[in-house]
């Protein structure tokens, strides 16, 4: 019961939740549990833990969502992070898990949740949070690593996407914003614009590229069908084009994508 009491004192120092620490330990005012010292009262001793608990986790959230923190500014980000952490205390030893529910939290916490007209910038921060967390996951994901990259000489039937290749579609140019921030530029909240990007990991490093809608569709098909000829066929059908037309475009894309390590050789 002592540990439950102390934990409750850290998680909810202002006793906002229904759980009153006094119910957990019969004589639980600080002085009966925590010793006072020559310099500090029992309450002051406990307060050191209370302050560092939230400060440590806030820091971690800020590292996990660094672009989002930049976008919101420290004060607003901290307000969101504090409320999120109060509702979702960590239950995992891996700090990488800390922000797993943050995007959902932001969706639920948006002030215009009930309104029919939604604030655009809130849509953007939700998309950015989603993208940042997914990148963190992709960075640490387990995957096959020892493969040979394709070259311009690789024959079509041996051309496969590298094992870590993710496609994203957002209502905002989230990838541009994120990359600008990571490269120490100072991006501004962008206007709404349907955006597509691909995230690759090769040699443990992430690469992010913007693509356009047709390329997104082509790569989505390729991921699913895992075969270039079938992809070209389906793509031609979806866009009402001839196989020859699609093949011509594909040749251009292929040269560029091989250069950018999109493909492995099977």
């Amino acid at each position: 019961m002592f540990q439950q009491w102390m934990q409750q004192m850290l998680l909810d120092p202002h006793q906002k939740t229904a759980q009153n620490p006094a119910d957990l330990l019969p004589s639980s005012f600080e002085g009966n549990v925590v010793k006072e010292s020559s310099r500090l009262s029992a309450k002051e001793h406990l307060a050191i833990y209370q302050r560092s608990y939230i400060a440590r986790l806030r820091n971690c959230m800020a590292q996990q969502f660094s672009a989002l923190e930049y976008c919101l500014g420290e004060e607003l980000f901290t307000a969101f992070a504090d409320e999120y952490l109060a509702e979702n205390p960590s239950t995992h030893y891996n700090l990488g898990e800390l922000g797993r529910g943050f995007t959902k939290y932001l969706e639920n916490a948006r002030p215009d949740r009930e309104a029919t007209e939604k604030e655009e910038w809130i849509d953007f921060i939700i998309a950015l949070a989603d993208f940042e967390f997914k990148l963190n996951e992709i960075f640490e994901e387990q995957a096959e690593e020892h493969y040979k990259l394709a070259t311009s000489k690789t024959i079509k039937s041996n051309l496969k996407l590298v094992p870590i290749c993710y496609l994203f579609k957002y209502d905002f140019p989230v990838q541009n914003y994120y990359s600008d921030f990571k490269h120490e530029r100072t991006p501004e909240v962008p206007l709404k614009q349907l955006s597509y990007c691909v995230v690759l990991r090769h040699n443990f490093k992430l690469s992010l590229f913007d693509i356009h809608e047709e390329q997104f569709h082509f790569l989505t098909l390729l991921k699913r069908l895992n075969d270039i000829n079938l992809t070209i066929k389906q793509f031609a059908k979806d866009y009402s084009k001839s196989i020859d037309e699609v093949t011509a475009v594909w040749q251009i894309w292929k040269a560029r994508w091989i250069e950018l390590n999109f493909f492995r050789e099977q």
Binding site: V33, C60, E140, R201
Partner: protein, 304 residues
Amino acid sequence: MSIKRLGLPALGLGLGLRSKHFNHILEQAPEVEWFEAISENFMDSFGRPRNILNQIAERYPVVLHGVSLSIGSTDPLNFEYLKRLKALADEVKPKWVSDHLCWTGVLTINSHDLLPLPLNEESLDHVCERVLKVQEFMQRPLMLENPSTYASFTNSDIPEWEFLSEMTKRTDCGLLLDVNNVYVSSFNNDFDPVTYIKGLPHDRIVQMHLAGHQHCGNYIIDTHDRKVTSEVWKLFNLAYRLVGKNSILLEWDGNIPEFDVYHSELLKAKKYMHENMPDLVETEHEGMVESVSNPINFIPTEIA
């Protein structure tokens, strides 16, 4: 009679492995005697951090240092955690695995802090029983570190050094003596750090930690974000003379400097190993805005 350092090697002077220095270490192969890696930063990683740890472990002795074992918690031991830790240890082949005498949470919550335990017969029994289980599961001895504490409890009746001594006797575990933590805890909780260090079982001390702390007037925070203070060097001198050769590690987790600055601060330890050590100038207290204790860093995602 027990074997000194549980028969484990004295690795000399080591540094904490921080993501900021990954490239430097791989490219420059600096002459550091060993590295300590935070287990939780790598246990669930299958990306660049784990790959780099494996590369470093091929070139240097490595030790795994954990922060989430929660050996003192009243929750059951987390065997999923231990399984992951064991898998990492099987891969990295560390010289040993360590964690802290503390609890990190209860009811499955993780506070990510190293919380203090009441030190009494009951908690001693509880901790010892769990240390034995962990050692059996891991098939290796566990090293436990004295944490920095900011509070002590009315139902504590065993001094920490006696608790640690008794724990090593009952479980055959080893100790990681954090000299800075002794200083921090002694200031915060009114005990004599010299009595503490003299009272430890010196042949059980396998490793030592050094770190910088922040003096906030009437309490001290273990911030790991600056140079080691003169008071801590003095205590290190005493501890080293009592323990003899072991493995010394300088922790630095906040405001992490360039690798060479970090390394040169570590190398100062050489000056404080012998009876005749240079005079120390009193360290000035700086930075009154409270920093975070034991900052633990999430390894940030990097993009090309």
